[in-house]
Symmetry: C2
Subunit: 356 residues, 2 copies
Amino acid sequence: MDQVNQNSYCIIMAGGIGNRFWPVSNRRNPKQFSDILHTGKSFIRQTYERIAAIFPADRIYIVTGEEYEACTREQIPELPADNILKEPYGRNTATCIAYAAYKINGNNPEALMLIIPSDHFISNDLAYLQDLQEGMEFVKKQGGLLTVGITPTRAETEYGYIQMKNRNNSQKITAVKTFTEKPNPELAKAFYDSKEFLWNTGIFIWKTRDIIREFKTHMFDLHALFNTDCKLNTPDETAFIHNVYGQCHNISIDVGIMEKSQNVYVLKGQFGWSDVGTWHAFHALCEKDGEGNVTHSDKILLNESRNCIVHVPEDKYVIVQGVDDLIIAEKDNYLMVCHRKDENKIKHFEKSFRKP
Amino acid sequence: MDQVNQNSYCIIMAGGIGNRFWPVSNRRNPKQFSDILHTGKSFIRQTYERIAAIFPADRIYIVTGEEYEACTREQIPELPADNILKEPYGRNTATCIAYAAYKINGNNPEALMLIIPSDHFISNDLAYLQDLQEGMEFVKKQGGLLTVGITPTRAETEYGYIQMKNRNNSQKITAVKTFTEKPNPELAKAFYDSKEFLWNTGIFIWKTRDIIREFKTHMFDLHALFNTDCKLNTPDETAFIHNVYGQCHNISIDVGIMEKSQNVYVLKGQFGWSDVGTWHAFHALCEKDGEGNVTHSDKILLNESRNCIVHVPEDKYVIVQGVDDLIIAEKDNYLMVCHRKDENKIKHFEKSFRKP
């Protein structure tokens, strides 16, 4: 696999606390630093190793919360310390991407950015890397905002969707008509049936100068915050970032830029992908027993039970008897037993306990 | 409350491992040594304190497994060490009672025994002690085998039943017609409706010489084992007991004696009682929230859930969402999630894990 050229940078987004996976993912130990799939490596470690096949360490950046700096350095000791961009608090992907874009552009106005989430499941790494290189070649030649989509295999309501301008276009990269956030079930089914839509992986490729032009056009407040008396790449960077983050809105790159820009493309990814964003996605991804149950240890016994997920510490013994459709999850002395129909309530559970 | 006379002895039966309460009760820490009801004291400690109001410590005996001697001494330091009768393995109540009867009779042929379980819930201690004293007076005067029954409040299938010879008998103590072990639901309803039946509490009162005569008549093998070359109350008692227990059958006093003897009486107990033998009995006994849930800590939250039991270590945080009729129980790194309809399977769960 060829290395990327010297103007290419990779940004790994590692904000977020994965609260839809509570209690296994929580504020102290978010999903991206966890090994929820029991592979032996955390999501972020796997993401780093995958991308390090084509990027040198000094051109990989990780954007994460200040409080996760130690954890990031521990899990990825190869990364130069300066390549961890620390957010004082989460302000969603538009802010996160702006931070990286303005900083890198300050050092290299010819820069091209590949932005990838830290906590997704990818299968077929070779196809993944080939797709990304193809995408970077495309952007290098003709600019624009390139996203990576995945052909849907079900009417999933937990993913964002990207509509292609021409679904019969046989080209791998096509222009984008619309972006849609998580649809309701009817809409998801219509999207799936139409074959015009791809799942939005949250992977983006563009030149820093192009995304900065888009910020200037569609999110001028944010542009002004980063562009006025800019202290990025100086000893005052931390104070500058605290000030900027204190003033900017919580807004996603999809809503802030992608839905508005006229210059958006999507590449049809050929790799296997899941955002592993919910227990439902986790269940869909994992190997199941004959009754549809997902577990990870022979210390877990399920009797006359169906379609359950049991995710507990490795040394725990569990018997589940006579139940269907339960998520049973434990971590750090927190236990959750939740019917799968109520999965959308899990994200609120962490708040139920005041700082224990 | 008067003390009992010098010929009266109390035997607390503390064998059994309470496997219908797994994992909260288990082989290493059986129910009788646990504080399942969160009262601050174990069942056996409460049983001891209750009976110590009328018995001196040197005439209280506890029969339990060899492996629970240390636990018994720790929980009841007042008890003379020699008053712990150690069984090499459980051989049911007939054997347990025979051990105590032959041993005490060897020291005092005029002895009268009160036999009580170690792991039952009793309310109204005063009524309980008055009933027991009344029963002991009865037996002292006219001999016979006296049991204590409780007027049923529901058609419970998990209790044994005692049929009175004459239900219109206004006397507190009446002759017994039949003993029945746990009935099926139809039979339990017929028993309950007839008003001729009382619940069998497993409390017995008799003179040692009378129960020995009954053993000789109805369980001659067992009598021969204890009566031949008897080494009870000698330095060879332990070896003798190992030999006896190695040869005797697993049989309850109800089946071995009570169902056969022609000289059985029952006293209608006036106290509150539950054998707390199952999670169902536990649920019936405990205070419930508006949705019928039983918990014991404000660290346990139940949302949109009904008729559940949650019993976990005191420091554990739990959220239960959108489920009905579950038993969620944890102890010593063992977790059980069991639908209440399958409660009768719990007793087999401990065997599911080979010595972890």
